[in-house]
């Protein structure tokens, strides 16, 4: 799609909110996730898997100190502030990556349309359109966009020979001045979609997983096609009574949601994220 046409038909691609009719918005695919925080152990296997799959550079200690980290996926760790002296209930972990918002705040501020919605419900990042304004990063409520302050392929810390031999040829290595972020491993999705199309079918549930979900030792990350009502991820969204197009779920309106654990982070900002989290659980009798 040319950029001229994209800006001309902007309304077609960029909605203030999803319509609520998933079939209309995404007739074939709407990629989504569900992460059970009671099963996530915070082990960081997903983080390393993401480095391995997506050609994410290591930046070294100095740049990390300056906040120039590149990890597309991070595990946030919080403590219960009431138990600050002794954390009797352990720590709180949460994998945080691009939430692939259906009405992403990053999209509206990009002056060149480098980030926009794909028909299968991803928040894309077109590297060779990006001019590095960094408005998207400033506007992202989840802080999951990472900017290449350096030309990492040329930096000794990232890929000295022969480490470049490990780089995944299915996606680029980004250069200086480019914004990047989690893509739900779009290279894997496109390969699976292409195979399915050749075979005249849709991608089957479980046929393709992003690297994080594939490696997760406890299986806390569930990934799939929300447009397929029989997919595991669609079942979980339904079971947890979270609907993509709502900024406040019906179950949360009364104050008592009956112990259904599903929620989306900062839902009230009306970004309509595609990642569902399931609340961490603690047995207070113990």
């Amino acid at each position: 799609m040319s950029i001229t046409r994209m800006f001309r038909d902007w309304d077609k691609y960029r909605k203030a909110s999803p319509s609520g009719d998933l079939e209309k918005d995404h007739p074939d695919y709407k990629w989504a996730m569900a992460i059970d925080l009671d099963i996530c152990t915070g082990c960081n296997a997903c983080v390393v898997a993401c480095y391995a799959e997506n050609n994410v550079p290591t930046v070294g200690k100095d740049r990390f100190e300056h906040g120039q980290t590149m990890h597309w996926l991070r595990i946030e760790r919080y403590w219960n502030e009431a138990d600050a002296e002794t954390p009797h209930r352990g720590a709180q972990f949460m994998p945080m990556m691009c939430q692939q918002c259906a009405a992403a705040p990053c999209e509206t501020v990009c002056p060149v349309g480098a980030t926009n919605q794909t028909p299968d419900g991803l928040n894309s990042q077109v590297y060779n359109r990006c001019i590095g304004s960094r408005y998207c990063s400033a506007n992202c409520p989840y802080k999951v966009r990472y900017f290449n302050w350096y030309d990492y392929p040329e930096q000794e810390v990232a890929w000295p020979e022969p480490l470049p031999m490990q780089l995944n040829p299915d996606l680029t290595v980004r250069s200086k001045g480019i914004m990047e972020k989690c893509t739900f491993c779009i290279q894997r999705l496109r390969a699976a979609q292409s195979t399915a199309r050749t075979e005249g079918r849709l991608v089957r549930d479980g046929e393709v997983l992003p690297a994080c979900a594939q490696s997760c030792p406890s299986g806390a990350i569930v990934f799939g096609n929300l447009a397929d009502p029989y997919s595991q991820v669609a079942k979980l969204w339904r079971q947890q009574q979270v609907e993509l197009h709502k900024d406040k779920q019906d179950k949360d309106k009364t104050g008592d949601n009956g112990g259904v654990r599903g929620y989306r982070i900062l839902e009230e900002l009306r970004a309509y994220p595609s990642v569902l989290y399931l609340e961490r659980v603690r047995d207070t009798k113990a």
Partner: protein, 741 residues
């Protein structure tokens, strides 16, 4: 072939005393899965743009997960867990993922090095091997081979080689071994390596066993843990209670985390035993003598010695009474003391009292080939090796898979003692600290270039033998070699008749597998087909694994735990050298992905730190980022302070793994090594190093630097959610249960 020759051959091939070896033919082969193909089909290497998956085995820790490597245009790109492996079941941890960075590491050794006039200089393999032949000629007991944990055919070859040289000195050293645990299990259950059925337990009480991160088989346990936690209308959610002086990742996931005083775990356990024996259904599980012996562990003593409040003790007790079967685990923080094995036995006794044995504590199958069975290693091996060195009893020493110059405590003076051995050979991937002391450094193939067989110590289901095969051609074909090949070459020099039939390690492994294929499930009748299937699947399932038997004898346990050690006013704090799953004993510190992946609990990257409780820090006047001298009786190191609430206040912790003086650009001069200041304290019944028994004091320096970490930047401010719903928590009795799927 006559019978005697056959027996000898089986010994060469590692199958000796295998009763299964003479069984009949196997069943037809099972059909392969779509993606798995044997490496020996070279055509697959050159399908442009298409990644092909080959099976192999992860070698980064002893769990031995089956992996599948994605190969494209002849390059290995990424590793995944193998769904056919009973251990990994298609999953892989971060450490395993990073294996490709060992393979492509820019600091890998590319050619043999010989020390000439004090400097390591390039030398040819031919020269190196003839030098070894010369130096080992009449070695006998003056020769020693120090290795890390080994299993499979590499272990067979190492042991055969040591034996051929007329030596008995094969030392298997593992800093992180759990010898005290094994000894206690032997005493309590009659077997040293029981299976722990995490998924079947309704309650887990763990004393420092970090099973989600670095204890025995973390990938397998993580999958089990998910089952343990999942609740539905038919199954309650499992409860995890963790008691330890320094919070581990498993502790961070606990429903109740208990900051117990270091070394008092046994007292807490026996206090629970004492209370539980008031119940008739628990009392019948042990002889009356046990009840008598534990009577002195009353609530007052538990309260006094463990630092755990009566209220928390009561909660744990109530949970143990309510939830059955439960599972009680003993881990390194309970075992790293003088009375470590006794602590572990006291903890395991809880499983007997609670009737968990047979339910959540089960017996694994016997590994049918003793020669190939894993040699787990321990620290007493290092102590014995070091003693032999210091007494000048060793002339020629080989190293593989162990870096004692880095991992040995400072008081052992390993570097100095090594000077007494005239000829030291390091089989290595990097110029690590031990290689820097060696006279000859021989570069090995990476794990992704090499062949091998592995037998995991923790077998969750039957017995699987894992195949390791190259996932790509050698990066340095002229420089690196397989240790298996080198050992065969050396063995051929000594025993040509026996070893000449095997042109190389590959041929050796292949003939070994084929020779014994009847022992395996679904082995194809045709040898080539069997070998092809073996490599495709990456695992061999032993056809009829023989069960081991649990034999309880709780009456024979020594339940008289020592009084807590006197407080040392000069060294008032306990030091925990904590284990990071990503670095283990420090051998993976040169992988940039792992350096840059934050430590899960502190979120710190690229370095070392001193974890100190905020209360203790206040008392010592220490703030986050302060450079602090950590002083033990055995040495001093400087580390950067990080205020961490997950500590018993009299405990400080420094992670193991960093502080390398060599080993390449990513490891050298990053962080500090807490092992250097350990006190000479030993576990009394195993002779193991007591890793958790060092006492330290602190001295603040004037230096303060920013702690480089992923969490919030302001020092001293708890990373806060600002009252937004970021990580939400729900009480277990509030969760809505759905029907079982």
């Amino acid at each position: 072939m006559n019978d005697i020759d056959r027996r000898k051959l089986l010994k060469l091939l590692g199958w000796s005393s295998a009763s299964l070896a003479v069984a009949g033919c196997g069943n037809p082969p099972e059909s392969g899965t779509g993606t798995a193909e044997a490496y020996s089909e070279p055509g697959d290497f050159n399908v442009p743009g298409v990644g092909v998956y080959y099976a192999s085995t992860c070698t980064l820790c002893e769990a031995g997960c089956g992996i599948k490597g994605r190969v494209r245009e002849g390059r290995i790109l990424k590793l995944e867990g193998s769904p056919e492996c009973a251990i990994s079941k298609g999953r892989l941890c971060g450490l395993g993922q990073a294996s490709v960075q060992h393979h492509y590491n820019p600091d890998r050794l590319k050619e043999p090095l010989l020390r000439v006039n004090g400097n390591l200089q390039p030398v040819t393999w031919d020269k190196a091997l003839s030098l070894i032949a010369e130096k080992t000629k009449d070695a006998g007991d003056k020769f020693a081979f120090l290795t890390g944990p080994l299993s499979g055919h590499l272990k067979v070859l190492v042991q055969n080689y040591v034996e051929v040289l007329g030596s008995k000195n094969h030392f298997v050293y593992d800093l992180l071994a759990n010898k005290a645990n094994q000894l206690a299990a032997e005493k309590v259950y009659g077997i040293s390596n029981p299976q722990v059925q995490i998924a079947k337990a309704k309650l887990i009480l763990s004393f420092g066993a970090d099973f989600l991160n670095c204890w025995e088989s973390p990938v397998h346990f993580s999958a089990e843990y998910a089952q343990f936690r999942k609740a539905n209308e038919g199954k309650a959610r499992g409860v995890l209670i963790q008691a330890e002086p320094k919070m581990t990742l498993t502790g961070a996931n606990a429903d109740r985390w208990i900051a117990i005083k270091a070394g008092s775990e046994g007292v807490f356990a026996l206090g629970l035993v004492n209370a539980l024996l008031e119940d008739a259904h628990h009392a019948k599980n042990v002889p009356a003598s046990v009840a008598e012996a534990v009577r002195k562990y009353d609530k007052a003593r538990v309260d006094r010695e463990t630092g755990v409040s009566e209220e928390v003790f009561g909660r744990v007790l109530a949970q143990l009474r309510e939830r059955s079967p439960s599972l009680v685990l003993s881990g390194p923080s309970a075992e790293g003391h003088i009375h470590g094995a006794q602590n572990a036995a006291a903890i395991m006794l809880l499983n007997v009292v609670l009737g968990n044995v047979g339910k959540t504590i089960t017996a694994p199958a016997k590994i049918p080939f003793p020669q190939m069975a894993p040699a787990a290693g321990d620290t007493s091996a290092l102590i014995a090796f070091n003693q032999a060195l210091s007494q000048g009893r060793l002339q020629t020493v080989f190293f593989h898979g162990a870096n004692p110059v880095f991992t040995a405590p400072g008081f052992m003076k390993v570097r100095e003692n090594l000077k007494k051995a005239a000829f030291k050979v390091a089989f290595a991937h990097y110029r690590d600290e031990t290689a820097e002391e060696a006279d000859l450094v021989l570069p090995l193939d990476s794990a992704l270039e090499d062949w091998g067989t592995h037998v995991a110590a923790y077998q969750p289901d039957g017995v699987q033998i894992h195949m390791q095969q190259p996932l790509m051609e050698r990066l340095y074909p002229q420089g690196t070699r397989s240790l298996g090949d080198v050992l065969l070459t050396l063995l051929k020099q000594r025993r040509p008749d026996e070893y000449n039939p095997f042109p190389d390690y590959y041929a050796y492994l292949k003939s070994a597998a084929i020779k014994n294929k009847a022992a395996f499930k679904d082995a194809a009748a045709d040898d080539e087909e069997f070998w092809y299937q073996t490599l495709s699947h990456g695992v061999l399932n032993v056809a009829k694994p023989e069960p081991q038997r649990i034999a309880l004898n709780p009456g024979a346990l020594d339940l008289d735990l020592p009084k807590p050690a006197e407080e040392d006013l000069h060294y008032p704090l306990r030091l925990v050298p904590s284990v990071r799953a990503n670095f283990r004993d420090g051998r993976h510190a040169n992988l940039p992905w792992l350096q840059e992946t934050p430590d899960p609990l502190t979120t710190i990257v690229w370095g070392s730190w001193l974890e100190i409780h905020p209360k203790t820090a206040g008392r010592w006047g220490i703030a986050e980022g302060d450079i602090v001298e950590v002083i033990s009786k055995s040495g001093t190191i400087k580390a950067q302070a990080y205020l961490f609430p997950g500590l018993e206040p009299n405990t400080v912790a420094i992670p193991i793994g960093n502080g390398h003086e060599a080993m390449g650009r990513y490891a050298k001069d990053v962080g500090v090594n807490p092992l250097k200041i350990l006190d000479p304290v030993f576990e009394k019944s195993t002779g193991e190093l007591a890793l958790h028994a060092t006492r330290v004091k602190l001295r603040r320096t004037e230096d303060n630097r920013t702690v480089v970490k992923d969490e919030g930047w302001r020092p001293g401010v708890v990373n806060t959610q600002m009252n937004r719903k970021i990580v939400a928590t729900l009480a277990a009795d509030k969760i809505k249960l759905f029907p079982e799927e």
